[in-house]
Symmetry: C2
Subunit: 202 residues, 2 copies
Amino acid sequence: MARRRRAEMLEETRAKLIDAARAAFAEKGYAGASMDELTARAGLTRGALYHHFGDKRGLLAAVVDRLDSEMAARAHEIGQRHANAWEGLLAEGGAYIELARDPEIQRIVLLDGPAVLGDPSQWPSQNRCLLATMTTLEALSREGVVKPVDVEAAARLINGAALNAALWVAASDDADVLDRATDAFRQLASGLLALAPSTSPS
Amino acid sequence: MARRRRAEMLEETRAKLIDAARAAFAEKGYAGASMDELTARAGLTRGALYHHFGDKRGLLAAVVDRLDSEMAARAHEIGQRHANAWEGLLAEGGAYIELARDPEIQRIVLLDGPAVLGDPSQWPSQNRCLLATMTTLEALSREGVVKPVDVEAAARLINGAALNAALWVAASDDADVLDRATDAFRQLASGLLALAPSTSPS
DNA sequence: TGATTTGACATACGCTTCGTATGTGTCATT
DNA sequence: AATGACACATACGAAGCGTATGTCAAATCA
């Protein structure tokens, strides 16, 4: 069998640990997940974990960073699909709402993450999400589509509203809740528009 | 000395435990707070705690319920002060933002609470907050001030935006962040208005 | 190529903490 | 006055985290 390089092995174990942790945290929650069990499932021991991530919290940070990056990339991509930048912003928000219905993201990013790692707005990954929204808003502001506005503040509130909507959608089994949340989101966002918002612009 | 009734004592120990837990959770966080230390500071032992609250989680639920009720009452009261219902809604949101700057509320209600107790929109106390906002919105909708809107969805998003703004405000030391967040909140909320929002209505 | 060092893990240990099971004293009831 | 219930304290077991230590392969170098 071909011998693999050391760096390869290292990356592989890191990935295995992150994957195992992602599953364990999602299933049992951060506090409920045992590091012994988690590492054993990955075919390793706690030794590997502490060597790579320092402590349990470091492991969560790594998992969160990964999930959050995936979210940002996906939401931004969806936003980019729209020729109209304003529709892109709305779609981006809608994408966040949908993404956050994923139980893994729910539990790890939205619930345990803030409690263990502190305010999300301080995370490097969250800043990526925020930056994407801010960039879009900035462009819209230059084009005159939205009113002159504090871009950072507006972006934070928009993201916050979307994430909260996602929590609501995820907690209820009702199928139409997603649509209700999305509609309300669009209405709220229209408050940023320079022109009087039309009820159904499409 | 006057002998107190049994029920009085009972309520007093409950209150002492909740107060001690409130302080301990705020200072060390839920996970970091030791129940031995917490109860000792109240002049009791863990026995009392498990007798009254079942487990650590039950104690947190009691603390959260208390804090959250205080928030709802205070915010609603502030909203009531305004003759104009629309300004009342905005003031209510602003009040949430300000209230959440309190480190106790920050840590216990906004960070640890959701992680341990689950989605806040399922809490009885949170429903009180929500109901207040919904009532105001409903009235505004009847008066024709805001567009016909899904009241529950709009209320949830508004509350979510306010809470998220509060996290941001609390995390940054910048003094003007509070104003920036409040302004952005008002702009977003104006998306619900039936008429084209004026830039500075007051 | 053989010796040495570095680094990636495994193993072993102690400490803390939670939850429960059991004990004890005091207040109501009869 | 005796009994039962209740409010709490004490004692115990188990689990989990972090650290300190050990080990073996891989990289470096003479």
